[in-house]
């Protein structure tokens, strides 16, 4: 494969001029005429029976067109909200419909909708709606959910236990028998709120006589939403179109078909008018899925020299009030917990429970942050217990380059990687030995410097089709259509759509690179189900690994056809024709060339084509790779902990990431910056806190802390490039790697800083209070 100047070029994003001038097209910015506004009345109770809903006074309010409760709309829904297999076919779960009918199960659950002539009229009317609740005991903690006295959320499930499954390999008893070191630790994965800065937003427009539905939604998955809207509403799929215009961030929180998308569509069908719903932040905090909310218990078997032998792991998952569509995806964490290390045996157990809290689902990294946190904390716990340096423990246990492609205990095959190269580079950048000397010096002065490492390996690029269908229930691949127009300009339709990742620029680089045309001659079209055959949308760091490769292959097939046409026009044998920089000519005779523009024109003058060749110049590709891709890297975080306040300051953050070929390094680094920041947010700042009544105490951005600029350092990034052997571009995903890597790096650094206090772990977020208490748990004694 030729890597030209376009692959690896930090070309400025074509998306940006509209966005920096305020001309973006987010859902709420789209011009709509005669739109009806929808307000969603939500449960104020975590767990209660709905004794009655009195809509009389609300119906009398100014501007109200209609009010619908769950009972009113029951006949409109032909299926419940979808739930996918996601690693746990054994799970039990109840059907969930867009509106609660008999019971509410979390604060924020939709109970009724009010349709009115304006946003404010709808909200005013909603305040006059009277929902009478009969309180039930709320279930608000993971282990308590399956306790004897716990109230049951779903009578049809029978208990709050959705699943309790084992995934094991190797002789775990033998591993523990051989162990010289045994460590037990509980690790918390606190509940997080994704907080895309644009909340969700929907406009639904149903045309009564045409029986067509168009939905504009701030979503990561327009194609999935289209299919499910068709199924749930009983409209032929051909009559449903979903458009994801500019989308203001997703982070996994927009990978579902949500109740509000269905409700807006149903309301539009009932009223014969376009219906708009714009999520408010307070709703977003309660009604958009949350992330993590897990407890991981681990028992470690290791040798005195730091060699890992076996792990016994229990992953407790808080599903929230229902099983969300990809709600069990996080069990992937158990399957990849081995990381880049050798291990003789692994015994994993995943227990999923229902609680009266917002449903949890994928959040940036989804399973891999949890897995990486586990194994990277395990490495440091072993280092601490054995006294072997954490760098040495990592090197001792690493899967070696010559063992690639390596198959893990649970049967996953890593595509490529040399985990020492990123580690070496990161240690050199940060001057690891110098830092250790400085740390020893500073400790004498009562200054607590901590150095934390994370040498992650992650699986992404979902997927190949067969294993993703088996594991998740959805067959995943990449899609592109590359079409040359009469004038030689190209359009590429792609199956994934960005919400900040810069597809329009990077995908144009890929296509222009193959066709040898200016990058500005390639238009990238995405996020509209009416224009391409199908797409598998955007999550799991999959766009470049799947859809960009599909675009590369389509462009290559277009180029091959162009060469055939040129050979015909040149009256030459195809094998004698070369294609370079957008021109085809007979080898050695570049002066007599046909440009791609001339060839494209000929493709639409079918009389000029070889006999039997179809007109036009386009190709469609469904790309199904042979394996997932496995990016890896080494992150080093250097912190200083204030001995008086417990405050943690990140002094340096160094990251060396290997995501194979980098199409646009500027965009790759941007993904890493944001990812690292989000992972730091989990380590230091963010937590969704519920009280005993199941009320979200952190339901605004006043109480739920998103890092702002002064809370974060600048990041020092470098790269190594190990091309993936499983796709033609050699790329691996990078959208989630930063988040996966940074959380354990920060926590390892804090625990390292607190070493003199005998601290082995700190619960996230590592707030000043928690850190201070750990420093003072032995009466404040310092070394």
């Amino acid at each position: 494969m030729a890597i030209s100047q376009l692959i690896g070029a930090s070309i400025k994003r074509r998306e940006d001029p509209e966005l920096v001038t305020g001309s973006g097209s987010f859902v709420d910015d789209l011009a709509q005429t005669a739109v009806v506004h929808m307000y969603v009345v939500r449960s104020t109770q975590a767990h209660a029976r709905i004794a009655g809903i009195d809509t009389t006074r609300a119906r009398e309010a100014d501007g109200v067109l209609a009010i619908f409760t769950g009972k009113d709309l029951a006949a409109d829904f032909q299926a419940p909200l979808p739930v996918t297999v996601c690693f746990v076919p054994e799970k039990k779960y109840p059907p969930q419909y867009p509106l609660a009918t008999d019971k509410v199960r979390y604060v924020g659950e939709p109970v009724a909708i009010v349709l009115a002539s304006s946003r404010t009229a709808a909200e005013d009317a909603a305040e006059r709606l009277d929902v009478r609740y009969e309180r039930l005991s709320p279930v608000v903690d993971i282990e308590g959910a399956i306790g004897k006295d716990a109230a049951i959320l779903h009578d049809d499930v029978g208990s709050n236990l959705s699943f309790d499954v084992k995934r094991a390999a190797g002789d775990i008893e033998a591993a523990f028998a051989e162990a010289e070191v045994r460590i037990s630790q509980r690790l918390q994965q606190q509940r997080l709120i994704p907080v895309a800065i644009e909340g969700r937003a929907v406009v639904a427009d149903f045309k009564t006589f045409a029986n067509t539905l168009t939905v504009w939604s701030s979503t990561q998955i327009p194609h999935f939403v289209k299919v499910w809207l068709a199924v749930i509403l009983g409209i032929p799929e051909t009559q449903v179109r979903v458009v994801a215009p500019d989308v203001g961030g997703g982070f996994g929180s927009k990978i579902h078909v949500y109740p509000e998308e269905i409700l807006a569509a149903v309301a539009s069908r009932r009223l014969g008018r376009p219906v708009k719903w714009i999520e408010e932040r307070a709703e977003n905090m309660r009604a958009t899925t949350h992330g993590r909310s897990q407890i991981w218990d681990v028992e470690i078997a290791a040798k005195r020299d730091g060699t890992l032998l076996g792990l016994r792991v229990t992953q407790w998952l808080d599903l929230g009030a229902y099983c969300s569509q990809f709600g069990t995806f996080q069990v992937l964490g158990l399957l990849v917990a081995q990381g880049p290390y050798h291990l003789k045996a692994f015994e994993g157990r995943a227990i999923g429970v229902f609680t009266n809290r917002t449903p949890t689902d994928a959040y940036r990294g989804a399973g891999r942050p949890e897995a990486t946190y586990l194994i990277e904390r395990v490495i440091d716990l072993v280092a601490q217990e054995t006294g072997v340096d954490p760098v040495a423990v990592r090197r001792l246990n690493f899967v070696r380059k010559e063992e690639q492609p390596f198959t893990s205990l649970l049967g996953l095959t890593y595509d490529s990687g040399d985990y020492t190269i990123t580690l070496d580079k990161a240690l050199q950048m940060v001057d690891y030995d110098g830092l250790r000397r400085e740390q020893a010096e500073k400790r004498k002065q009562g200054i607590y410097l901590g150095i934390g490492l994370c040498t992650y390996l992650e699986i992404c690029g979902l997927g190949p089709a067969a294993p993703t269908q088996a594991a998740t229930g959805v067959s995943l691949w990449g899609m592109s259509v590359v079409r040359l127009h009469f004038t030689g300009k190209a359009t590429a339709i792609i199956g994934s759509s960005p919400h900040g990742q810069g597809h329009e620029t990077t995908f144009a680089q890929v296509v222009a690179n193959v066709l040898g045309i200016p990058v500005g001659d390639v238009d990238i079209v995405h996020g509209d189900t009416a224009i391409g055959p199908m797409g598998m949308d955007t999550y799991g760091s999959r766009s470049t690994a799947l859809d960009a490769n599909a675009a590369h292959i389509s462009a290559t097939r277009v180029r091959d056809k162009a060469k055939k046409i040129a050979a015909h026009l040149l009256e030459a044998a195809e094998d004698d024709v070369v294609y370079e920089n957008g021109k085809a000519f007979v080898k050695g005779a570049p002066s007599k060339a046909f440009t791609i523009q001339e060839i494209a024109m000929a493709a639409f003058q079918t009389n000029r084509l070889p006999k039997g060749m179809e007109g036009g110049l386009e190709a469609t590709t469904f790309f199904d790779p042979e394996n997932f891709v496995w990016p890896f890297g080494a992150h080093v975080c250097v912190v200083e902990v204030d001995g008086d306040t417990g405050a943690v300051r990140i002094r340096r953050y160094v990251a060396v990431d290997d995501c194979g070929t980098r199409i646009n390094p500027m965009v790759v680094d941007g993904q890493l910056h944001g990812g690292i920041a989000q992972g730091i947010g989990q380590a230091l700042y963010e937590e969704a806190v519920y009280d005993d009544e199941g009320q979200l105490k952190t339901g605004t951005l006043v109480d739920y802390m998103i890092a702002s600029a002064p809370d974060l350092p600048s990041f020092e990034l470098e790269a190594t490039i190990t091309p993936s052997p499983v796709n033609p571009l050699g790329v691996k995903g990078i959208g989630e790697a930063g988040t996966i890597a940074s959380t354990p790096a920060v926590i390892n650094a804090i625990v390292d800083a607190l070493h003199p206090f005998g601290v082995k772990d700190v619960d996230m977020p590592a707030s000043p209070e928690k850190v201070w208490r750990l420093m003072h748990k032995n009466g404040g004694s310092r070394p």
Binding site: K12, R13, E15, D16, P17, E18, L19, V20, T21, G22, S23, G24, F26, D28, D29, T120, V195, A196, I197, E198, G199, D246, V247, G248, G249, F251, I278, E280, R281, A282, H499, G500, Q501, G502, M666, V667, D669, G670, Q671, H673, G674, G675, I676, A677, Q678, T700, L701, V702, I706, S708, A709, P710, L712, S714, F715, G738
Partner: protein, 171 residues
């Protein structure tokens, strides 16, 4: 009971009768038809709605439209001259200072005010000056770089025009 307001937005004077409870941000979006100013929270934390009101940076979700009666408001749409981007817009583009772009208009408006107060800020001053604006995509790394780059070009431009302008930090 509607109230009459006259607000000049990006040099155009608008007169409307509005509900007293109407927030300035919805006035700008729904009455002035300028959708570049975004709503990201209900609590004045995110800063996506930042605009300039009579020379002050304000969060347009925290102000009623009636409070802006008689004011001069500049929104993100008021910065570029035709297709010539404001140096901050150019710098955000050049430095990859945005991803999804939702927070960007507010971020740029806040940065503009910051540079008006301090034409040559340090990294720490930039970070603290943007504390009221949240971005979930960039980790702020390239936003800081963009503001530094803009400070440089704006300083150079001001230098060419008049040395006094540098001290005033104007653009």
């Amino acid at each position: 009971m509607r109230q009459k307001v006259a607000i000049t937005v990006n040099g155009t004077r608008f007169e409307h009768e509005v509900e007293p409870r109407l927030l300035l941000v919805y006035y700008l979006r729904e009455y002035a038809g300028l959708t570049g100013t975004h709503v990201g929270c209900d609590t004045s934390n995110c800063g996506a709605c930042t605009v300039d009101l009579d020379g002050h940076s304000v969060k347009a979700c925290t102000l009623l439209a009636v409070q802006a009666d008689g004011a001069q408001v500049t929104t993100i749409e008021g910065l570029a001259k035709g297709t010539e981007l404001h140096p901050l817009q150019q710098a955000f583009w050049d430095e990859h200072g945005l991803q999804c772009g939702y927070c960007t208009p507010g971020m740029i408006m806040a940065a503009r005010q910051l540079l008006q107060r301090n034409a040559n800020p340090t990294e720490a001053e930039i970070r603290s000056g943007l504390e009221g604006n949240l971005c979930r995509c960039t980790g702020y790394h390239n936003i800081v770089k963009a503001v530094q780059a803009a400070a440089k070009t704006m300083g150079a431009a001001a230098d060419r025009e008049s040395p006094a302008a540098v001290r005033a930090g104007g653009h």
